[in-house]
């Protein structure tokens, strides 16, 4: 087991280095160049140096005057030595900005994921255990509606109903107007109330696909020979499903859920923007549009590393739920 994990880690590091190069190359070729934008601004000041001079000077300053490969190795060395640099756009260290905004995205994503699992798995199993029944049709149709709802539309409807019509929640923002004057508990509740609509949005638009996965897996498992054996023993339907089928459906579900864990750190770009939640999704979008290479590089590398780790983790979890998989 230990040897297997080491080997997999080694492979993952190799993949990560390649992915980082691709990210760096892509960021370098973005049309939105931070340096050019800045050069234009600086050259427009009265009595300033001309644009070309500024570009050359800034390129040198920001380390963009070297080739792709050399630039990559400089970046790599910096990242490996823990020197993540300063964000160009936000003018603070990258890690500082990142740690400021990641928390809220993670909390939002984690709550949404837990809710999703709690809703999708039981409903998927219910639907599958009585295929083609009215219950199945209702659940499947619900899932489909959730999947096909565009985030911006659903968020807007939620806002219209709960903020504008009913006035239960604020339209956007993470905290209310008189947040600074609240007691610690008051602050907590204020923030929680502001997260209700974004989390509902996240759950509704993504719960459908997990539900459909669960249903499909369950249906497949219910066709298996060992399920027929379980019925041949005289077990009731309930026990067949809970004792025999459920654990077998967990195997593919673990992969899906394991694969979605890195997403917790990716943030939710659209939802965060719509509700003006200063999370990592919204921030990385701003950085990318501004051509902020250090921040984008750090964020994307971090995600790539997490994805690789997530895959490794779900393979190990696999071995936990499925005795046939013995990592050796």
């Amino acid at each position: 087991m230990g040897k297997y994990i080491l080997k997999r880690l080694g492979i993952s590091v190799g993949i990560l280095l390649v992915v980082m190069f691709i990210i760096y190359a892509l960021l370098r070729s973005l049309p939105a160049s931070y340096v050019e934008t800045m050069a234009i601004q600086l050259s427009q000041a009265p009595g300033a140096k001309p644009y070309d001079v500024w570009v050359t000077q800034l390129n040198e300053q920001y380390g963009l005057n070297v080739g792709l490969v050399q630039g990559y190795f400089v970046q790599l060395k910096n990242l490996l030595t823990g020197n993540f640099g300063d964000s160009w756009k936000f003018a603070v260290p990258v890690t500082q900005k990142f740690s400021q905004v990641i928390g809220i995205s993670f909390v939002m994503g984690a709550i949404a994921l837990v809710l999703e699992i709690l809703i999708a798995v039981p409903l998927g199993i219910l639907a599958a255990s009585k295929q083609y029944s009215r219950r199945d049709y209702a659940i499947t149709a619900g899932a489909l509606i959730g999947i096909s709802l565009p985030t911006f539309f659903f968020a807007t409807v939620l806002k219209l109903v709960f903020s504008v019509k009913l006035g239960w929640f604020d339209l956007f923002g993470l905290v209310g107007r008189d947040y600074p004057n609240l007691s610690p508990w008051g602050k907590f509740w204020d923030m929680a109330a502001h997260l209700v609509l974004p989390i509902i949005t996240l759950v509704v638009v993504s719960v459908g696909s997990l539900m459909r996965h669960t249903r499909t897996n369950m249906l497949e498992v219910l066709q298996a020979d060992y399920i027929r054996t379980a019925r041949a023993k005289g077990l009731r339907n309930r026990r067949v499903i809970l004792n025999h089928a459920f654990r077998n459906t967990l195997i593919p579900l673990v992969t899906i859920i394991g694969g979605s864990l890195p997403g917790l750190f990716a943030g939710a770009l659209i939802t965060e923007t719509l509700f003006a939640i200063p999370g990592i999704g919204y921030t990385s979008y701003q950085a990318m549009v501004a051509g902020d290479i250090p921040f984008s590089m750090f964020y994307l590398t971090f995600l790539a590393a997490l994805t690789l780790l997530g895959n490794l983790l779900s393979d190990i979890l696999y071995a936990v739920v499925d005795p046939r998989v013995r990592l050796g």
């Binding site: 060992y226 027929r228 041949a232 023993k233 005289g234 005795p323 046939r324």
Partner: protein
Amino acid sequence: MTRKEQMLLEKRRLAKKVPQSQYLTQMRDSRNALEIEELRTCFFTDAGVVQASDGVSFDVPMGKTVAVVGESGCGKSAMGLSVMQLLQRPQGQVVGGAIRLNLGDCAYDIAKTPENVMEKLRGKAVSMIFQEPMTALNPVMTIGKQLQEVLELHEKKRATKRHAIKLLDMVGIANGKGVYEMYPHNLSGGMRQRVMIAMALSCNPKLVIADEPTTALDVTVQAQILELLKSLKDKLGSAVLLITHDLGVVAEMADFVVVMYAGRVVEQGTVEEIFYQAAHPYTIGLMKSKPVVGRPVESLYTIGGKVPNPINMPDYCYFRDRCDTKTEDCDGQYPAQIQLSDTHIVSCYRAFPREDADGKHSGS
């Protein structure tokens, strides 16, 4: 038969409070463990209705082994699953006929027994051994747990590990303690089939249905498993309904043989009658295609043609298009059954007395 009728059948089977009078019945002969009468089993598919069993009738006497033989796809498994009420639902349904199971003090008509009563019969009064030992056991549950489950369900509320290990011992698994903790993937096919047999026989069922129990196994293992099945059946006094397409297995195990073709029984009789006095051209063909020591394999007989489409069967002998010995009579309606002896029944115009070919002499 429409989808609506299919749903109606399904609903009736899932009904909760069905009076006993609806499904309790009398055996025709109390010495039989199972009586199947005019069984009709259908699969409602998108392409049409498949008549998997089309008026199947035969008996399984107590403590005896009845082999059901026939080519792949002729409806053997569907017939066996009908007796267990384990047809793939909701498309598979028993639509007519009677399946009487003798429990000694009473008899159930399984065709009319609702699901919640059927649960109590399965695994206890009637159990089944499946063809695929590789996939028939739950891959994520230990052997011990899977065995103990049946015992807990039907025998004792708290079945102990000792019981389960005793069962493993009974089916010739020496290292019972070790195997108890193992998962199916740790065992060979033969060992898994032994576990299946232990599971099927753990509650002393009146009837065991074995659907091609050795088809997926190596030849040497086949013989061991058959031997085990035979000795256990004699020990427990269970009747066996043995589904197979291997005539070697039939000769080894069976007391009676039922030959099926395209969902119907074309001939049935004792082993001797079927092996030495086969009357139906299909049975004769099966016998000829059986490999015999000393006969070169190249000349192995095969029956030409293939089984007709089971949707929309014609009303004439289903075997007609493949039959070497058909006469003009054979263009008539499906041949009725002729009783050649107390036990020997055949459906073929060749067996009709010459002067009375319209089937009025039919037995049964």
